[in-house]
């Protein structure tokens, strides 16, 4: 058996992908005004301030550079190839990043791992403050894209789309939505009206989406009433959030947000009446013993679930580099995949993002949780040799959880 080097193998596969698929990779609009960045697989360095004049030049670059990650700027510049201060900023698209890292889905404990590079101690979930064995504070973390994480990222994305269309009035034609190839979604808004918005204005958009600084009293919550389910904007969201929250919250959860015992009992006793009240003007003033202060606390809590958990830094940054659609994600070997907003509910990211649908490879897995790439589940594995479909094998290799041992027959 010929010994194959894992790194060289990944590089060969990435190279093969770009040779075969470069025609399917489309330059972003106004390509010549954008900055491109490449993280090189072999040299592990970031090549920034690249610019292209023609689609041919753009496509050839993937084949010659063989990058592990490809980015383009959300910004437009007069001279994109110059240093930052010299570029001449012309404007930027409005971009959103939703990543499972910001959502803290409950499943992270089952699939994320950390290891201490000093004493090799390992554990699950988010790393501790100090290594329990050697007290060092540096860890290597490994996060996994899983169905549950990606499903919660999708839920946040759907909330974001609702706010962008219904509240902010963007048309879905101005948006493109993609699975990032790892743990989340990117939403890109291209509209000439937002190009020159500065960082301060974008921050207002972020605060709107995340609900930062929201005061329910400025949305009609008062001693004499409150918002209705069919109200516009945040007003309606506060009402709908309160409706949902009161349906699902346990007495313990209500106690946690600081509601007095008596209030919790009243809410429990009048559950039916509260439900009924939404048909008219909502429950805000009609439940005896539940004060305005208590309703404020409930509304405060309720609106948290209505906000969309976006990465606040990405959207306010007017020079941001964003992964390019149909290029490979170096941490997974999956490709960033565009999907239509209309069919987001049915979109299966782990199936659609497969970049290597053919062939198999044998890998030596050190450790991997149960995972899915394509339609099949694999694992969990621990110190074992397995033969996997190429996409799944490459996924583990890119994650650094396996070494290549043998390549299946269908691959040259």
């Amino acid at each position: 058996m010929i010994k194959i080097d894992t790194k060289a193998f990944i590089q060969a596969k990435f190279s093969e992908y770009y040779e075969k698929n470069s025609l399917n990779i489309h330059p972003p609009s106004s390509m010549e005004k954008r900055e491109f960045g490449f993280l090189l697989l072999k040299e592990r360095i970031m090549l920034r301030h690249k610019a292209f004049k023609t689609a041919q030049e753009f496509r050839d670059s993937f084949k010659t550079l063989i990058p592990s990650h490809v980015y383009f700027s959300s910004a437009y510049y007069e001279r994109p190839e110059e240093e930052m201060e010299e570029k001449g900023w012309l404007g930027a698209d409005l971009v959103f990043d939703i990543d499972a890292d910001h959502i803290s889905a409950p499943c992270s404990k089952t699939h994320d791992t950390w290891s201490c590079p000093h004493c090799k101690t390992t554990g699950r979930g988010t790393p501790p403050k100090k290594c329990p064995k050697c007290n060092k504070q540096k860890f290597e973390e490994k996060t996994w894209p899983c169905e549950i994480c990606l499903e919660s990222a999708k839920e946040e994305t759907i909330k974001l789309i609702d706010i962008l269309t219904n509240d902010l009035g963007f048309s879905t034609n101005e948006m493109s939505l993609s699975f990032s190839g790892h743990r989340g979604y990117h939403l890109h808004v291209e509209s000439k009206d937002i190009l020159t918005l500065n960082s301060t204005s974008r921050k207002e958009i972020v605060d709107y989406i995340v609900g930062i600084g929201l005061d329910p009293q400025l949305h009609g919550l008062s001693k004499i009433g409150g918002p209705n389910l069919d109200d516009f904007g945040w007003r309606g969201r506060i009402a709908r959030g309160t409706y949902e929250y009161l349906l699902s919250a346990t007495p313990e959860q209500l106690e946690k947000i600081g509601l007095p015992r008596g209030v919790i009992q009243s809410l429990g006793k009048h559950k039916e009446r509260i439900l009924e009240s939404w048909k008219y003007k909502g429950p805000w003033t009609m439940i005896k013993g539940v004060s305005f202060e208590s309703w404020s606390k409930i509304a405060e809590q309720a609106l948290k679930n209505q906000a969309a958990k976006i990465d606040t830094v990405v959207t306010t940054d007017v020079h941001r580099l964003i992964r390019l659609a149909d290029t490979l994600h170096g941490k997974t070997g999956l490709k960033k995949t565009e999907t239509s907003i209309a069919t987001i509910e049915e979109f299966d990211p782990l199936k659609s993002a497969v970049a290597f649908p053919h062939g198999t490879a044998s890998v030596d897995v050190s450790e991997a949780p149960k995972f899915r790439v394509g339609s099949e589940f694999h694992g969990p594995y621990r110190n074992e040799k397995v033969e996997l479909p190429m996409a799944a094998a490459l996924f583990l290799l890119c994650k650094g959880s396996a070494r290549i041992t043998e390549v299946g027959s269908s691959v040259r």
């Binding site: 009035g169 605060d207 995340v210 929201l214 904007g233």
Partner: protein, 286 residues
């Protein structure tokens, strides 16, 4: 007489070559414009707003939206409202539907004030060639008058030693996080560094703070701290982000009493120093 007086006023303000006079003048003119607008009819206000390329329309009466006069495109809204501090001006606290913000006439006039202020400030950006000595004398007299009335700007002296107990809650938390060797977000590091550099901590001491971090690289950290301090690169000394920005990015751990009265971490530090001084006038070394 009103109309020709405006270009003359602009010319004179430009000739002062003082950015504070320019700002004060622009603000005063904008406030006057806004007061006058409040007495105008809706149609006139629409015309003026459209002149500034605003997408402003009369609000269509809807059952859930009473008491509003206008609907304004939210992009035009945030361009002008984002710098107004009161929470009722935050986009998140406004009634919004399909990209339009619903506003009263008085609110539209307040927003136009911002637009006018920027418009005049931009007009004041030009340079004038030399004016006759007679006019320059008058301008200098006006300048003198302004300084007498307003006084020269003077930031209260920040003491050269670093007073940790005067740190705002955000900086306290960042400081603790980093001292214990824990990871800090990019914006967290930037906030901490700019704050410390601005209250007079030496580059050396700031670099030392980062030493306990797992990914510490001395050369890189020193370069970045010196860059932020304005000793390298673009030579701009950076200041920390405003409180509002820190809230957006989750750096603000929650406000205390002083926070409620300031908008910037450095303002907190100055205010707290004043309080410490009055509370303990005979502190050692004072």
């Amino acid at each position: 007489m009103e109309i020709p007086s405006f270009p003359i006023a602009i010319m004179m303000v430009v000739a002062t070559a003082d950015s504070r006079i320019k700002r004060t003048y622009a603000l005063a003119e904008a406030k006057r414009a806004s007061t006058l607008l409040k007495g105008e009819r809706k149609e006139t206000i629409m015309k003026i707003a459209n002149n500034f390329k605003w997408k402003l329309e009369p609000a269509q009466p809807r059952p859930n939206l009473l008491n509003y006069d206008f609907a304004l495109d939210f992009k035009d809204y945030i361009r002008n409202a984002a710098i107004i501090q009161h929470k009722k001006w935050k986009l998140v606290n406004r009634m919004l539907s399909k990209g339009e913000v619903f506003l009263t006439k008085v609110e539209v006039c307040r927003l136009l004030e911002e637009e006018v202020r920027r418009y005049i400030e931009q007009k004041l950006q030009v340079k004038v060639k030399s004016l006759s000595p007679d006019i320059m004398n008058r301008i200098n007299r006006l300048k003198q008058l302004f300084y007498e009335k307003r006084g020269k700007t003077s930031w209260e002296e920040i003491p050269s030693e670093v007073i940790i107990i005067a740190y705002p809650p955000c900086i306290k938390r960042l400081h603790e996080t980093i001292s214990s060797g824990h990871h800090l977000s990019h914006i967290g590091r930037f906030t901490l560094t700019t704050f410390l550099v601005n209250i007079g901590m030496t580059t050396e001491n700031v670099v030392d703070l980062f030493r306990s971090l797992a990914d510490f690289k001395e050369r890189m950290t020193r370069y970045q701290v010196e860059h932020i301090a304005g000793l390298k690169g673009s030579r701009t000394k950076y200041i920390p982000p405003q409180c509002d920005t820190l809230r957006t990015h989750g750096v603000c751990p929650g406000m205390d009493d002083i926070c409620r009265r300031i908008r910037h971490p450095l303002a907190y530090y100055r205010r707290k120093l004043r309080i410490i001084k009055t509370e303990a006038p005979l502190a050692p070394g004072a």
